[in-house]
Amino acid sequence: MNTADVHTLLGPYVLDAVDDIERAAFDRHLRECDACRADVSELREASARLADGAWSVPPPALRDNVLAAIGSVRQIAPISPAPAPAPATAPARSSRRLRLVSAAAAVVVAAAGAATAAYTLQDHRVRVEQARAEAAQAAESRVRALLASPDLVVKEEPVTGGGRVTVATSKLHDAGVIMLAADAAPSDGRVFQLWTIRSAVPIPEGTLAPGQTAAVQIVEGMGQASDVGVSVEPPGGSKTPTTPLAADVKL
């Protein structure tokens, strides 16, 4: 899609009337076009006013549920060093929200329920890892949507050598999130690699860097997978697992 074509999507983009591919193309376009960003901001103000016409009193239970829910949802930090308003809010945040774990990790941990203590030491590593992931906003919002899906199923297994692998899947999204939090990296410079098993065939789903113990990975088409596995492989990963699985989560 060339620039002229993309630009014709301004109206549909503001109205969320584009598909995911077009939205991504337009987002790219926006990064290069200051004037377009201003257009989008202005038209968003107008389109948001359309919500005025739909104003409707929510069920009273919603307020209770939302206020109860935020108690267990940790907030995210701004993507970049924030401009002017940040200094005012930063001290408040640093007191209570010091242990800012990514929402993905937090929700998975909360959903998994057990082994909270085991995660405490992992939080930092997960956070570091997730901070990287958050740079990729698309992936992040996908994780968010997945973890928020009403049919989320969470399974967890120990990893040989210590730690856990947690798999959250949604049939609705036909996708899942694998979260690995191992106690220690494999020895001899070897690395963890993630797999899904589909029709008895292992499919590589991502390889961690040497020394890396935690990862959050989105897997599409999770509906066809029977298992999620973790194996220890040479740096860069393998085409098929070369060691017995260090963890095997049956879906």
Binding site: T8, L9, L10, G11, P12, V14, L15, D16, A17, V18, D19, R37, S41, E42, L43, R44, E45, A46, S47, A48, R49, L50, A51, D52, G53, A54, W55, S56, V57, P58, P59, A61, L62, R63, V66, L67, A68, A69, I70, G71, V73, Q75, I76, A77, P78, A82, P83, P85, A88, T89, A90, A92, R93, R96, R97, A103, R144, A148, L172, H173
Partner: protein, 202 residues
């Protein structure tokens, strides 16, 4: 959190509330972890958020569920709000609309809802927009401004915004060429903006 159960109701039902706080100020406080500010923000925006989602999804139970997701998301990502890029209300509505549309599309594949609701909407685009509209000035203003659009602009904008249709779906429903629909959406929004004086609205 134990104290909330007793303290929040009286606060919520208070007959003489503080003058309406600015959603942008509240959102900044929320970004700092202020749960009280979040409760006030909730009271300010929840009817708009829930109403919008309900308009798109129709089903009350699903709407409640998605509204909860959205409002929790507002709490979670409040730090991402950038006042330089628009108002807090618009930021929140954008999240709500996007979520509602995602949900409606994930269900559309298997359902007849698309054509059924779509046709009904084309027959009465204006009434459908107006049916929940009552006395509040701002809502009257939106209605009036929608009325100022050309028929095709209004239908293109409302089919997309209130029904969650993509522009190719809108083109099909309206029997109009794709480029025309894209243009009508943009021009409709521009006209709406000019009518609402949206640039100046907080």
């Amino acid at each position: 959190m134990a104290e909330r159960g007793t303290s929040r109701r009286p606060e919520h039902l208070s007959a003489v509330p503080d003058p309406d706080p600015d959603p942008g100020d509240l959102l900044r406080a929320v970004a700092g972890g202020d749960e009280k500010a979040f409760a006030r923000l909730y009271d300010l925006v929840a009817p708009r958020v829930y109403g919008l989602i309900r308009r798109v999804l129709r089903d009350p139970a699903q709407s409640e569920e998605v509204a909860q997701e959205v409002l929790v998301e507002v709490w979670r990502s409040a730090a991402r709000f950038d006042p330089a890029r628009g108002s807090a209300t618009s930021w929140i509505c954008t999240i709500a609309h996007r979520r509602a549309v995602d949900r409606v599309r994930s269900e559309q594949a298997a359902s007849e809802r698309l054509t059924y609701v779509g046709r009904a909407q084309v027959d009465v685009p204006y009434d459908a927009v107006a049916d929940e509209v009552s006395g509040r000035l701002e809502r009257q203003q939106v209605r009036r401004c929608l009325h100022d659009l050309t028929d095709l602009q209004r239908e293109a904008v409302t089919l997309a915004y209130y029904q969650g249709h993509t522009y190719p779906q809108v083109a099909e429903l309206l029997g109009a060429p794709l480029p025309t629909v894209k243009t009508r959406m943009r021009d409709g929004l521009i006209r709406l903006r000019d009518c609402l004086g949206a640039g100046a609205v907080a």
